[in-house]
């Protein structure tokens, strides 16, 4: 399509080569590590397609190709873009935010598990939950601060409290949750302190302090696990935003399942009953939510089904199902319980990464921005008489 020209810049050559390699046809699935992948590729490498169907594209997406409504197979979408460039800026968040989604949920699930263990006299669940919660929330803080463009300024988050900013709300939720989870975990050390002297006093006071802190942490935990759904949905990233009804459900389920995983790993089978039931509930929410996200959103479900996000979410589903099956069937075996717990933890992590990268992929390709919006405009035009 272009005549021979003297060699020019590097980025241009990459652009032309990719066009030549991929043609103007839409690929069935993004290539490995393509638009869906590579975190730090926030630069402007153009995705495969520039424009489609010049003549007669007035009709919008159903450009006479394939009919069919909003079924699983999304019809070929014809759309126009500026040299195939993304309209949106892809999230600059790197993998550590996806990891935080997991560790934050894990902390929340573990705190709930710990509080349940504490109130119903299951010390193994309590101890494992509290210790995991502290570890996970510490890792969360590291991930969050590390992902900032200016990590040394992390405390600027504490200047304001804004309900319109889920990140601000999340900061305060973490600020309330973190210390409580920390105190509850430290209280687990009470038994190791000497019985007499100054340490003895501390040792005698610690369990009740830990009790209160554990309940406080458990109180904040559901908020900690679900606000991240709003965090992702409250963006212009098409596949995140449109999934706003489901994301908190997925994340709540995923958090429960990971907390249950900790219980299954750490507790003897006799104490692990509640963890098994938590695993079932969490898995149900998680599977329901991801299924909805993968099917309800029409074109915007596509990023969750293809490429790396698709593989991650499929792996997550497999791990969740096997984790729950193992927890229910192997209820007498410590080993099967531990394996199930590991599977649930892995499922939770993998699902978070799948949701995260699905959204990133949807922002990188102008199709997901233009086509739904163009449909909206066209619907308004045909609906509202002779407008434009």
């Amino acid at each position: 399509m272009s005549p021979a020209r003297p060699p020019v810049g590097d980025r241009f050559r990459r652009f032309r080569d990719r066009l030549a390699a991929e043609g103007s046809d839409r690929p069935e699935a993004p290539r490995q590590g393509g638009p869906a992948g590579t975190d730090d590729q926030a630069d402007l490498t153009p995705p495969p397609q520039r424009t489609a169907e010049l003549p007669g594209r007035r009709t919008g997406r159903r450009g006479g190709r394939r009919g069919g409504g909003e079924e699983l197979r999304v019809p070929e979408a014809t759309f126009t873009s500026y040299y195939g460039r993304p309209i949106l800026k892809a999230p600059v968040w790197k993998w550590d935010i996806a990891a935080y989604l997991f560790t934050g949920g894990l902390a929340a699930g573990s705190s709930l598990l710990a509080a349940g263990g504490q109130l119903t006299g299951r010390p193994a669940l309590r101890r494992a939950g509290r210790v995991t919660a502290l570890a996970a929330v510490s890792a969360s803080a590291v991930f969050l601060v590390k992902d900032l463009g200016r990590p040394a300024r992390f405390h600027h988050m504490l200047r304001v409290a804004k309900p319109t900013s889920p990140m601000s709300m999340g900061t305060w939720i973490l600020t309330a949750y973190g210390p409580a989870a920390g105190v509850a975990a430290i209280a687990e050390a009470a038994g190791r302190l000497p019985r007499h002297g100054r340490f003895g006093l501390v040792g005698r006071a610690l369990p009740s302090v830990g009790h209160a802190a554990g309940l406080l942490a458990a109180g904040a935990a559901p908020a900690l696990a679900t606000y991240t759904g709003v965090l992702l949905a409250d963006t212009a990233v098409p596949s995140w935003h449109e999934a706003y009804p489901e994301l908190p459900v997925i994340f709540a389920g995923s958090a429960l399942a990971s907390g249950a995983g900790v219980g299954l790993l750490a507790a003897p089978p006799a104490q692990a009953g509640p963890a098994r039931r938590m695993a079932v509930a969490g898995a149900a929410l998680e599977l329901y939510g991801t299924h909805r996200v993968e099917t309800r959103l029409g074109l915007l479900s596509e990023p969750y089904r293809v490429g790396r996000p698709g593989r991650l979410l499929r792996a997550g589903r497999l791990l969740t199902v096997s984790g729950v099956a193992g927890a229910l069937l192997g209820r007498r075996s410590r080993l099967v319980g531990a394996l199930s717990g590991t599977a649930l933890l892995a499922a939770s992590a993998v699902t978070r990464f799948g949701i995260f990268y699905g959204g990133v992929a949807s922002a990188r390709d102008p199709r997901y921005t233009v086509v739904p919006q163009r449909e909206r405009v066209n619907a308004r035009r045909t609906g509202g008489g002779s407008g434009g």
Binding site: T164, D234, V370
Partner: protein, 309 residues
């Protein structure tokens, strides 16, 4: 604390809503792309005045656009769209949304000169100086967790670089893909609508430098009137594809502080056809999160209370 029912969505005067008393009239840009000549004086003037660093020389193969997009280091971006257009319909409306076509520019010769007459095509060349839209409902501002982004008394949206900690939330939130993270710096940057110049009663650098008055600066009300008149004139003169973009206070972002006159569909220029501020759905999102949180708590209680083991 949401004083105005339209705080998150719908028509609104942003400066009083942000708490300014006796705010001056809302200021903005009207970019009339029908007279843009693609000189990029706006890009240069912006960089000069605001001290925006360069982002390196590169050739993108997108007509004469080697800036590529609005980025942290380009607060004005001149788009060049080359469209084929058969000679017999020149002057008639082009099929809406015919996408940018690569006609081989830039080259040392006009298109078709080297290849013979039969390969020549008529085409039109659209240019547009893009900029931050300074939305009425600015998602970047709403989601900023540090208060670094703020609404000025002129109704514009500005980043305070001494506050921004580079969390990147605004970047994902912007429905236009304007605000961006500067790589070696970590913070988010975008057009300030020359807040410093506005305060001194001056015109923003890009509008000042524009040689064709394609970029017009002034009170938004006045600009909207001027734009409507300009569209009417163009329609009269046989340019029926002229349309305004971002002028309507009833659109998804409550109207833009910087709006445009375009000669084709917005996506041809790399603009979203129907942007909606993400915070429109925020109350519903919090509600869903609340329900999910309750479900989570209930499931935990049930797990510990119910059952035998």
């Amino acid at each position: 604390m949401l004083p105005d029912p339209n705080s998150l969505y719908g028509p609104l005067d942003p400066a009083p809503d942000a708490g300014y008393e006796d705010a001056p009239p809302r200021m903005g840009f009207f970019t009339d792309t029908s007279v843009c000549i693609g000189c990029k004086a706006c890009e240069v003037a912006c960089k000069e005045w605001n001290g925006v660093p360069q982002s390196g020389l590169d050739l993108l193969g997108m007509s004469y656009d080697n800036t590529g997009a609005l980025t942290a280091n380009s607060w004005r971006h001149v788009a060049f769209v080359e469209q084929p257009r058969p000679a017999d319909v020149l002057g008639a409306p082009v099929a809406d949304g015919a996408g940018p076509q690569f006609l081989g520019m830039p080259g040392s010769q006009p298109p078709g000169r080297g290849s013979g007459a039969e390969d020549r095509t008529d085409f039109r060349w659209l240019m547009m100086s893009d900029v931050c839209k300074h939305c009425t409902h600015a998602a970047c501002l709403d989601v900023c967790p540090t208060g670094s982004l703020f609404r000025t008394e002129f109704g514009t949206v500005v980043v305070q670089e001494d506050i921004c900690n580079g969390c990147g939330y605004c970047i994902s939130a912007c429905p236009y893909g304007v605000i961006d993270q500067r790589k070696d710096d970590g913070r988010a940057w975008k057009c300030t609508l020359c807040y410093d110049r506005l305060g001194a009663g001056q015109t923003p650098a890009c509008a000042q430098a524009c040689p064709t008055e394609s970029i017009q600066y002034g009170p938004l009300e006045e600009l909207r009137e001027r734009a409507a008149a300009r569209v009417a004139t163009l329609h009269e003169r046989g340019v029926p594809e002229a349309r305004l973009y971002g002028h309507d206070p009833n659109d998804g972002v409550g109207g833009d502080g910087a709006f445009f006159l375009l000669l084709d569909e917005p996506e041809v220029y790399g603009l979203p056809p129907d942007p909606v501020v993400t915070t429109r759905d925020l109350p519903k999102m919090w509600k869903r999160a609340g329900l999910a949180a309750l479900a989570m708590a209930a499931a935990t209680v049930a797990a510990f209370v119910g059952g035998s083991s």
